[in-house]
Subunit: 302 residues, 2 copies
Amino acid sequence: MNKRVKIGIDLGATRVKIGVVNQAGRILCRREVDTPFNVKPAELVSSLVVNIGDILRQAGLKKGQIAGVGIGVPGPVDSEKGIVRYFPNIKGWENVALKSILERRLRLKVSLDNDVNAMTMAEHRFGAGKAAKNLVCLTLGTGVGGGIIINGGIYRGSTMCAGEIGHVPINEKGPRCNCRGIACIERYIGNRYVLNGARKIFGKSITLERLDRLAKSGNRKAAGIWADVGTKLGVALAGVVNLLNPDMIIVGGGVSKAGELILRPLRKEIKRHAMIDQARHVKVVRAKLGTDAGIIGASLLA
Amino acid sequence: MNKRVKIGIDLGATRVKIGVVNQAGRILCRREVDTPFNVKPAELVSSLVVNIGDILRQAGLKKGQIAGVGIGVPGPVDSEKGIVRYFPNIKGWENVALKSILERRLRLKVSLDNDVNAMTMAEHRFGAGKAAKNLVCLTLGTGVGGGIIINGGIYRGSTMCAGEIGHVPINEKGPRCNCRGIACIERYIGNRYVLNGARKIFGKSITLERLDRLAKSGNRKAAGIWADVGTKLGVALAGVVNLLNPDMIIVGGGVSKAGELILRPLRKEIKRHAMIDQARHVKVVRAKLGTDAGIIGASLLA
């Protein structure tokens, strides 16, 4: 461990994961703590400083051996200036200069990006997307997030808001989305909406876990719900494939555990309805790094 | 004219335009000829060679003063190898190594790309998109074409098929498109489909020119048709804006002559339904270079 390693922090709305990551993308040492409800910036920073100190001691490392700290956060950021714009699910964070605050406290170089870009970078560098030059990476969960790799590097867009694949509309008319959009794909396949649909189909409330178990044990109603998720996502992605002509689409996030129950109809939709050259070329695969992608990706920011 | 200039060729299905273009993007000298019906590769090459010889004499230039020749063509190409894959509207072109054939005959360096990428490069370098780092350029006509500038350079995609914004679907269910897609935006706002719709509304056939004149003179039915084109395009572009977070969307091509009659509802749709940061940032403007964009853009390929 004489090579310089990095620290990756995956800041989630419910858990904070911290890892020491080497140049091969291996997590050498890790810690995980709850994110306090509506944690304030100062409180979070203090907790990070303490936990990083602990993890360094645990790993037998000195600060001088750390090349940098990367942090992936659950909301929009200005990654150049290192500012958190806001967190949709944590109150009291508005235009927080997290990078400079952390740098002052840690005396280490800190880099910042949103969690989906971090995950996308991890999957591209060490996961399912290693062979790809251009790819789109999705997370399916409460929301539908997306990151884009263009010509081998993360593409952030003109005001660092690119990648919002969850907010590609799939109908002219349809339900209004929280983002102001109409008929955004997230509005159909975000967890909440899937479960709402499932409740109507089963005539009672059902959890995602139960839905998943039912589908995997052959329940046709449950499998049909995942198939519908895959097909609807395929409509949005057929457009994305025609537009961006990527090598690969990587599907991750909690819902992606349904695996082939979603991916099969998704691939079918793209293969049938995207343009022939683009459809033939693109591979649709599951994310490989699982929940570690956040830590590993954050370390790549550093 | 002692500076080295370039030759730009805009090969269209109906006209071939050739120009000598300087480094400021000015066309110093030009020629335009009909594209013979279903012209064969050898025939086209011979015609290009003759016409380039003529234009050089006319401009008082020697071959040694030409930095290179760029050619924009109406169909998919492999721009790295300089191969025309096929032309949707000219028969008999399949995997034609146009670059190397032309280079042998002209003894000049030749570069090749599709016409929409050429136009996009011209608008980015010398036209409406000069200030933009990331932009999407559209042509509205028989088809709906698109080109993408990412981080200041043309983005071609993994198999050089990127930019097909005409084939972003705007509905899950809807009319089948020639590309195999369902409810592609082109299937609603390509010339033919606009005129089909107009025939139903007016109860008789109508030309695009007449439709345009009617709309501009205040005919509400006609204006409503353009407004519908703008709104539908806005649905597709809201998704593109959320995904790519560009600085600018440039709208060109024949139909764009309708100007604000399309652009106003298009902007409204994006401003209302794209995500707030992306919508606030993006500018939606008309192309500036008109039909010269093809020649100028082709010269930029060289």
